[in-house]
């Protein structure tokens, strides 16, 4: 089974459902922990951060009443989603992630080498997503309590690169603009356009560049330990050949280095499972869902995949000889 092909298929399906679902009367609700932009007309499911930010923009005493219940309910639904599919939201569902993966395919097709951050740089910026997540809560609270101007309303939607980009797929260009209403809106919406530009340019250099800074990834990473998807590693079987690290779009070094830790869904993991596929040692890596193992590192599968990769387009030609 070629997991990457399956993943692409699932990504395309989720993209279709999330962006065009509304046209077929599909509604997955507005509490999805992924970049399914609510600004897309007739979307099939919406990102929970929009509502979350609005709900937080209230004076503090209100949270003791009905508002607090509503907030907890929204958070609860999103958390439930996050527990069931944890990081699969990033690697398998996120429409914005799909766009980055597709651009990576273009880069590979143009045979442009990828590059990686130095380990130090990578390490240094790991906390950025958590800072962004904290601000995601603090700024709306500030707005609700009169500390911050209303122009900062739903700052993450204004700043999010998915907002200008995803409505384009329904022919809606209105979001692809800078809002000159005030300085904060200008900064935020201008920032979004810059992020879109960054996404396009960095995709020709790195893989999933923006994901490492995504506050949604930070939110989902809170459920790494209890999420139903897990990535197991048997350190005794590992030869530390580094194949998994090289295959990892998120540049997670633990996957290669770790010899004792059992669950390898680390904070940046997006569960793309490329590491499991790149692993040549039987059973060294294993992906599980709710304790049920559905993908294991396997020498034969590794070889078959290598056969396909090195054969370029003519996969069948290589197999015929055998």
């Amino acid at each position: 089974m070629n997991i990457q092909r399956l993943r692409l298929a699932v990504q395309l399906l989720s993209f279709t459902v999330l962006i065009y679902g509304g046209l077929f009367a599909i509604d997955l609700g507005n509490r999805l922990p992924t970049f399914a932009c609510s600004y897309v007309p007739d979307h099939g499911g919406g990102c929970f951060l929009v509502g979350f930010q609005h709900m937080l923009s209230r004076p503090l005493p209100e949270f003791l009443g009905e508002q607090g219940i509503r907030l907890l309910k929204a958070l609860g639904i999103a958390s439930l989603w996050a527990i069931v599919l944890n990081k699969a939201w990033c690697g398998w569902i996120c429409p914005f992630g799909l766009l980055q993966d597709l651009l990576t395919k273009v880069r590979v097709w143009l045979s442009i080498d990828m590059s990686r951050f130095s380990w130090m740089t990578r390490h240094r910026y790991k906390s950025v997503k958590y800072i962004l997540l904290a601000l995601l809560i603090l700024i709306p609270l500030g707005i609700g309590n009169g500390l911050i101007s209303r122009d900062w309303t739903a700052p993450y939607c204004q700043l999010c690169p998915a907002r200008p980009l995803l409505p384009l797929f329904q022919g809606d260009t209105t979001q692809f603009a800078i809002n000159f209403l005030s300085i904060p809106t200008m900064l935020l919406t201008g920032g979004a356009i810059i992020l879109v530009g960054l996404m396009f340019t960095t995709s020709f250099v790195k893989r999933r560049f923006l994901c490492s800074y995504c506050p949604m990834l930070a939110f989902l990473s809170l459920f790494d330990k209890i999420g139903l998807f897990s990535l197991k590693k048997d350190g005794d079987k590992c030869t530390r050949c580094g194949n998994c690290y090289r295959a990892c779009p998120m540049e997670i070094r633990e996957i290669e280095e770790e010899k004792t830790l059992k669950n390898l869904v680390t904070q940046d993991c997006i569960l793309c499972l490329r590491c499991v596929e790149a692993c040549p040692e039987n059973m060294a890596l294993e992906a599980q869902f709710a304790g049920f193992s559905f993908l294991k590192a396997d020498a034969e599968a590794f070889l078959a995949r290598q056969d396909a990769v090195t054969a370029g387009t003519g996969t069948r030609k290589g197999r015929k000889k055998k």
Partner: protein, 438 residues
Amino acid sequence: MNELPPGQPAPAAPEGDRPLTRKERLIRKVRLHLAMTVREIFEEMEKDPSRPKAMAYFDDIFRKFMHNGEGVIKASDDQKVIGTYCVFVPEEIIYAAGGYPVRLCAGAHDSNEIGEDFLPDVACPMVKSEMGFAAMPILDFYQRCDMVALPASCHWKLKMGEMLEPFDDVHMLDVPRVKESEKARDYWLEEVRRFQRRVEKITGKRIRRRQLRDAIRKIQRAQREVVRFQNLRKTIPAPILGRDALEVLNAYFYDEVEDWTEALRALNEELEERIRTGVHAAPPRAARILLTGSPMVFPNWKVPFIIEDLGGILAADEFCTSQRYLSDMVSVDEGTMGDMLMAIAERYVLPCACPTFSNTIERRDRIARLVDEYRIEGVIYHVLKGCHPFDIEQKVIEQLLQEKGVPMLKIETDYSPEDVEQLRTRIEAFQETLKGRL
């Protein structure tokens, strides 16, 4: 010093009245001795009636050592031959540039005599043997090398570069010792790129994406057969003797990779057939031995011969000349030039269990896995005199095996046949204790 053209038969009777010079006499003697050593090995092997028929292909390669090694390598006349040492030289690059790699690590006691002129007494017999072959025209393919790639792995290899300079065009590869660090990996990748440029210069062909991909593929296919072969060796009772397995993997040094793959495929098919029909090379109760430590290269096969003559079965080995050489594979991810080069660079260093690296984790884990997978009952730790890296690691491995409850015997020897009887006594006693455990 290379006044004799390569590949010329041993100097015959002196022309006219001219007596042979000391050097000519030496060359003649070494060639004769080597031929005798090889003949003895094959006479011994022929006594075994149950050898797989597909072994004949590999025998042919080694039999050519009796005739100055002519025809051992299959490089065409216009093809550049690049000699390699150790397990760190990326052969994919050589094949991609249209060159022909041949691994020069040597196991002949007979050429030690020449090597001793260059090296101190305590040097390991492997470098002495290699120096001997490099310095004098004994084996044809040592003289045919247009370039020799030498990784600075152990101290002997590090200093051998300079000694080889009068005889070969030497390219040193600096293998990082502490491979965990990021800079070490970057540095090694740069070393591989430097090697690539050098090889391109020698062969005059630029390596493009396609050639590199094809070369990777060729070697992966060979390794795929190795995986199959090794899996067959896990069968009890063993379908093939360990010494034959050593020979098969050793032949990869010299043979053209695709031919070798085909020959191994034929052997694998025969072994599968044998397993089906219940033909085996050793009795089911034969003690399953793992050999590890300093490498063993043809014709230094005295230890495997002793083990199997005494009724044991060499079930697996952990030598850089066989199992370790071919088990780790290049993993192409994106298939861009940079990705492939990085994959090649990492394959040769990161999973490598050579004791010249700073830690023993890789080797310990590898041995533990081999012991489990091949159901090993006893381990023989082979140290060549003067091979410090393996000698140093012996304690750690002994401790590991103690924890696993697998007995270990350490033997320290060299290439000379003098200690065969003594080794036989010790190995026999060791295998007796293994029988007692059953």
